[in-house]
Every structure is written in structure tokens, then in C-alpha cells.
Symmetry: C2
Subunit: 393 residues, 2 copies
């Protein structure tokens, strides 16, 4: 099979048309993300994560695929909405707002700011707009300022058990590359070093080879629900961020360690009974607090496809490609909706559709198109390489 064409065609002829057709709010700007199986809007609330992520997606594709003015217009709609309605008076981004932009849920969650910064940065590259560039920078430094207490007054945990979470260092390792255009190279290198160290030395456990979701600041483990928690999709996603950094730094050791970690997490979290990757696991095998632990989520599988494609592109190991094939077959046969386009988001353990939606509070125009783009580009290189080797034979 020609994978690069599959991913390219799906991105350009299925995924993007779906969001172009159904998600645009022509009245108030920004995007609807609560779309049912057919693309019909079933709720009009706007979740800031997803506003930022969709604005980023269309800006990124404009920058890296095609200077399509329609894509830029769609990106602008989200960027304007975020600028006008996304922030409180202190410049922190809300979690959600109404269709018109009235604040609904306070800025308790710093990832709203991360995805807004990504959107501003890509849009600034597309338009060369200095004001937006400045906004990307301000948002980024505001995130760094909040890094030790990202939830602010909404933090419910006391200081009794000072665990640190994986999400923020993980996101930073991707965000900083997204913001290369607006940050000094000194700042970029500093944050890369910080996040690689956090991900590979603090959160990646030497003994088990698994990435823990919460650890003590020195990386040691805490025998509690949060301390035992594994989020396989997060761990695997972070590894393709590490491969990107490895490529940038020409650090083949980092690429190899990331590749090994992907395989290790997959072996540990693949559901041997029904296929697919578990959403959450407990490192000691104890019962979890997350009732949704055994479900199969779209983003987990798409991030794994990206990670395996990149790992194969750079290592050419058969073991990596065998896993790629396995995850590919599961994902494309279970998540892709041939009838109505786009991908389902949530399957039960058995692989049946659990929520009949294409978008909601957490699923928007992001993981599917980003993975399609990343896999397309990786397979283009993989296939060109195979072609070259054939010619050399």
C-alpha cells in the first residue's frame, strides 16, 4: 500500500472538507466543535483548547502544504475569536466560552494558553503580523510564569504530596518548536533542554521503561492513585516530540531511546483480548479511578501512528514497522468513518462506537489532521528511501 497517498488524500479530501463544511461559525467567528456523526452541530459552546487547535491546524497547513486563502481565512476566524474573547483581564485563557464568547469556565487549565500560543505563532508565520507574533510571545512567557502552579487558586491538591504532572513538560517540548519563529534561539534551546530532561530523565522510568503520568520532582515514584497512573497515549505522543528534537539536534541516541520507549509502552498497553491501546493503566495493576480506562480513543491511536512512522523513518527497524502495521489495521478499521467522513473519537473496549460524534468537548480539528499530515510526510520519506535503495540495488 502507498501510505503517503492514503494519508494525503484522507487529509485533503475527507478530513479538511469535513471541518470546512461543518465547523465554521460564520455568525460569531471561531468554530463549532460539537459535531455529530454527520457533522451536525449539537452544542454551540466553544472550548478554548479546540479553538486554538483548529486555528493552529489551518495556519500550519497554509504554511506547510498550500497557500490556500480559504485556510487562512478559517485560521483568522479562530485567531480573532481567541484575541477578542479568549482571555480574562490578566491575560489567562478561559477553558470555555459561549458561542458569542461570554466566559463559561475560568482559566483553571493552562493548556488553553498552550494551544492559543501555538495558534498565534503559526498564524504569525502565515501573515507576518507583528502584533500576533508579540501575542504568541506574551502567551508563551505567561505559561512559563505559571508553570509551578498552573491551576492557580483552582488547585485542589494540598502540598502534602507534591507530585508533578507529565502533561506540561511534554507539551512544552512540542510548543517550543512551534514557537521557534518568535522566540530567541537561546530561549528555544533552554526550553528544549529542560523538557527533554524532564521527559527522558524524570518521567521515563528506567526500571520499567514506561512513562509515568505523575512523579515526585526528582522522578521517584509515589505509591498512590496518581503516582501509579500510566497514560500510554501521552507517553507515546511525547516520544515523537523527542524524535523531532532528536532530528533537530542530530541526536541519534535520543531517537533510538524514544523508539525503544514507544515499543515498550505498546507492548505494555496493547489490549491482547480486543486489540487497541488502553486509555489508562495502573503501574501496579491495581483498580483505577478512571472509569474510562479500558476505552479506545482516537488520539491515542493517531499519535501512535505518527510516533511509529517517525521511528521507522529514522531507524528502519522491522519491529517498528510490524507494530505500525498492527496499529494501522486496528485504527483504520475501527475509527475511520467511511460513510460520513472523519474519525470516531471514542470506542468501548470491544472496539464499538461509544459516542456517536466527530467532535465534542475534547475532540476537534487537531489530532486527526495533524496525524494525517505527519504520517503523509514521514511515509513520503520512507517511500522515497525505499525507491532509492531499489535503484541502488
Amino acid at each position: 500500500m502507498n501510505y503517503s497517498i492514503l494519508y494525503k488524500d484522507t487529509l485533503l479530501k475527507d478530513i479538511l472538507p469535513f471541518w470546512e463544511r461543518y465547523s465554521i461559525d460564520t455568525q460569531y467567528g471561531g468554530y463549532f466543535t460539537c459535531l455529530d456523526r454527520n457533522g451536525k452541530v449539537y452544542d454551540t459552546d466553544k472550548f478554548i483548547w479546540l479553538q486554538g487547535r483548529q486555528a493552529w491546524t489551518f495556519s500550519m497547513l497554509y504554511n506547510r502544504v498550500e497557500k490556500n486563502p480559504k485556510w487562512l481565512e478559517i485560521a483568522k476566524s479562530g485567531v480573532d475569536f481567541l484575541r477578542n474573547y479568549g482571555r480574562d483581564t490578566e491575560g489567562n485563557f478561559y477553558f470555555s466560552v459561549t458561542q458569542k464568547g461570554e466566559p463559561l469556565v475560568q482559566p483553571y487549565n493552562i493548556f488553553s494558553d498552550c494551544f492559543a500560543a501555538m495558534a498565534f505563532s503559526q498564524y504569525a508565520i502565515a501573515t507576518n503580523d507583528d502584533e500576533i507574533k508579540e501575542l504568541a510571545k506574551t502567551t508563551y512567557f505567561n505559561i512559563l510564569q505559571r508553570i509551578d502552579n498552573p491551576k492557580g487558586k483552582y488547585e485542589k491538591n494540598t502540598s502534602t504530596r507534591p507530585l508533578v504532572g507529565f502533561s506540561l513538560p511534554m507539551i512544552l517540548s512540542n510548543l517550543v518548536l512551534e514557537l521557534e519563529g518568535v522566540l530567541s534561539s537561546e530561549e528555544v534551546n533552554k526550553t528544549i533542554d529542560y523538557s527533554v530532561n524532564q521527559v527522558m530523565e524524570i518521567f521515563l522510568d528506567k526500571k520499567t521503561g514506561l512513562v509515568f503520568e505523575n512523579v515526585q520532582p526528582d522522578g521517584s515514584h509515589d505509591n498512590s492513585f496518581n503516582g501509579r497512573l500510566l497514560n500510554p497515549g501521552h507517553g507515546i505522543e511525547a516520544m515523537w516530540f523527542m524524535i523531532d528534537i532528536g532530528v533537530r539536534k542530530r541526536d541519534s541516541k535520543l531517537i533510538n531511546r524514544a523508539t525503544e520507549t514507544i515499543l515498550r509502552i505498546l507492548e505494555h498497553s496493547w489490549d491482547k483480548d480486543y486489540g487497541g491501546i488502553f486509555y489508562f493503566m495502573d503501574a501496579s495493576g491495581y483498580p483505577l479511578q478512571q472509569l474510562e480506562w479500558d476505552q479506545k480513543l482516537w488520539w491515542v491511536h493517531l499519535e501512535t501512528l505518527v510516533a511509529l512512522a517517525k521511528a521507522y523513518e529514522h531507524t528502519q527497524k522491522d519491529e517498528v514497522f510490524n507494530w505500525y502495521k498492527k496499529v494501522h489495521d486496528y485504527s483504520w478499521s475501527h475509527f475511520s468513518d467511511a460513510e460520513n467522513g472523519e474519525w470516531f473519537g471514542y470506542l468501548n473496549r470491544q472496539g464499538e462506537v461509544l459516542l456517536n460524534l466527530k467532535g465534542g468537548k475534547w475532540k476537534g480539528c487537531f489530532h486527526v489532521p495533524r496525524a494525517m499530515f505527519q504520517c503523509w510526510k514521514s511515509f513520503e520519506k520512507i517511500e522515497a528511501n525505499i525507491q532509492k535503495n531499489k535503484l541502488n540495488d
Copy 2:
């Protein structure tokens, strides 16, 4: 089948021995609630809801079943733990603490206070201890003071969409009867009137006959995720609180309306494919935010058994008994663990065990023993009534 004996025997010979044997922390006081299928402790954190609920259960059984000194000692252990480690300096109850009692999660959740108040009140009845009686009263009035902003500074919702939640008025309708011994009858009657009005006029929707989890303060509906949310178990549980109040007030109209509502909710939320009652539903049939929506939870089914037993006790309607039989057969064949005792808590939609535990963050020594006790007592009356009718024939 003699149901009263089934419930009595299960309570006294299976459920209580399980918690007596495995849950007592003889070192630091209070209870372990994270117990695996065999009763082994897999986590030592103490969740204040469950500390209060277990102290209540053993106090209540001491008061209403048997003056068993062992039960009183178990109750005392939890009451002492709550007094010593449960509260912050302002008298608000934490959500969770460590095994030793160090605070872990702040008092963002007022239900900790509700279950502590219930425990103090029952324990005060058992011991006639004035200090504990006073503590029950103080805790109750602190809850009333916080009623308009129960989450305090941890409230993440803005005032844009002022929805009110069902849980608090629902709990109050039960809590106030639990606190009859320590409150003035004026206070009791005021809170009964308030909560009956809230439950039956504000949250119970006249048009659909369903109880909504979140409504606008005047009871009108909001077309949003929270505004469309149904929690069938909550609605049904509240109806047996209404029946208790109906009995107390000799209000047969209230008992009949509660009975009709139980049947209506059951018809709407029974899973016609796999049996059991859904955990969450969307009133418009849209996709939910709750990924666990289709799971079958122990407490939902136990509260339904109590509600149907009470409804049948007071109305003797065949339709009620037919539903009772259906829920009984599903519940006893799916949740009860004949091999290791007690009940499983979480099943997937298909009715298979999802989490192999007897207790955790939310499941403790409460719903199972309370339902066993309530059903035992209801069926004693139902069976005595049948016997009487036979003799009169």
C-alpha cells in the same frame, strides 16, 4: 422467595463481616476503603465521604438493628478520625487525607461535610454524647451557609450560565431526617419543605417526568451539556427520600408522585440491549461528555431496589413489583460476588466486571449495607401485609 431474609442475611452474614474484617485501620483509626476483590487493601488514602459514610452505617445499625459494641467501636474510630483530621481551620471538611490524616485534597466538595454530619448525628444518638451532637449541628449549619456557593474559591464556572445542581437539595432531603435528633422541629420542617419543593417542583420536569441534574434556578432548562444531563440513579434515589418524607407527613400524593417518577425514569433509562440502568444520559439524546455514561454502577441499582421496595410497600402496585423483580434479577446476578463476598461496583455496559474492586475512591461501606437494611425492613412489612391479607381471606 423470602426477600426480607435474603437482605437481612446478606447484610449480617456477608456485607458487614467483609468491612469488619478488611477495612479497619487499627493503626491510625478510620477506614481503608480501597479494597480489592478479596478485601486486600490496595491503597491507603482516606476519602472523607467514605469515612463519614462508614461511621454513619455502623452507628445507624447500632441504633436500629442491634446494640453490638463492636459496631459502636468501629463507628467511634471513624468519628474520631473525622474530628481529629477531617476539617481545615475553618471547619470545612477535606475531600481526602492520607492514611495518617494529613490533608490531600482541599474542601472543594461540600458532600464531605454532609456525610460527616450524618455520621455525627447517628453516633450522637448511639452514645448520647453532647459534644458530638453539637458538632453535627455546627456541621449542618455550615453546609447551609455554603449552599449558594458550595465549592467556594474552587468554583470554576463563571456566572454566565447560572445553573443549579440537583445533588445538594437531594442530599438535604435525606440529611435533614438524619439530623432530626439534633435540630429543632422548626428547622427540620423548613428544610423538608425547601428540599421537597426543589426536588419535585424545580428539578422534576413536568413535561418529560424526568429529573434533571442541572437546571436554571426557576427550573427551566438550558440547552447545554450540563443542562441536558440526566443521572437516573440520582433521580430514583431522591424519590425514596421523597417517599420517606411522604410517610412522615402522611402525604400519599407525594408518595404516588414519587412512585410514578421512579417508573418513568426506569422506563427511560433501562438498557434494552444488555439490561441494567445507564449511569448518565442526555435528555436530547446527544453525545455526552461523560465517557462512562453506559456503565452499570452498583449504587444506581441498589438505590433503585430500595426505591421500588418502598414504593411497593406503600402502593402495592403490580407494575412496581414487576420492575422490582427485573432490577432484582439483574442486580443480584451481576453485582453480587458469591465467591468473595460484597458487591462489585463497576460493570461495563455488557454487564462484565470493569474494575475488580469492592471499594475505592467512591465505593465504601454505605450503599450496599444501607440498601440491604432498607430492603430488609420494607420487605418485612410487605411480607407481613401479605400474611395478614391471607389470614383475612
